[in-house]
Point group: C2
Chain length 103, copies 2
DNA sequence: TTAAAGTACTTTGAAAAACAAAGTAAAATA
DNA sequence: TATTTTACTTTGTTTTTCAAAGTACTTTAA
């Protein structure tokens, strides 16, 4: 390992993306509105952060119509789950490890 | 509480700032070079992220000369320690809580 | 002694990211 | 039929991030 933060994933560096992932880790899916309400974010916000996670293939997007209305459902991909778990491990290590510095 | 991420501190949303704080929580101080090496960041990076944390009064900066060379030492303030602990609590809650969604 | 290289930062300005307001299109309501 | 609401997406400005360049020395070496 090069440095103490090298395993911390840039993609999860933002609280909204962290929130999205943590919701999708516990619940096997969540839709746009749910994420929006749960995270207290604006529409544009959810749109761009989910897009960012989708671009990395960390979440999958399923579009359908529910009650004749458009519905966008987000699901954490295997890659995303793995990456997120690794991120959490890295976080935990960063915070727990008493780094030997002698300063 | 308004939403599940409302206690997650924006100031710690970045891995370099997270790293700086975690180093300063465990070690009572660290200087510029140490942070730079420990985090594998560039000079400008450390400068701007420490400045951001200083602006929030989360860290204190002490400038002196050691061996005739300038030395900048960073220390977590009480406010910073408190804020960071609260941030970690919020993180933990976010990740542990099985949010009741019924979806 | 003076030129070149190194140290410890700070400043700068371009690039990327974040944000909310505005836009879209269809559905529900009145 | 008009108006409001829902469920998003797009847009363009603001903010943040970043590393390259700059500053002000100190050290080494010729």
């Amino acid at each position: 390992m090069k440095n103490i933060i090298s395993n911390i994933n840039k993609a999860f560096d933002h609280r909204i993306r962290l929130g999205i992932m943590s919701v999708l880790m516990v619940n096997d899916h969540a839709d746009f509105k749910t994420l929006k309400e749960l995270l207290g974010a604006t529409d544009g916000n959810i749109a761009s952060h989910t897009k960012a996670l989708e671009k990395q293939n960390y979440i999958k997007v399923e579009k359908s119509f529910i009650d004749r209305k458009p519905n966008t459902r987000y699901i954490a991909s295997d890659k995303g789950r793995k990456a997120f778990r690794e991120h959490l491990d890295a976080l935990e290590k960063l915070l727990k490890t008493k780094n030997e510095l002698n300063i």
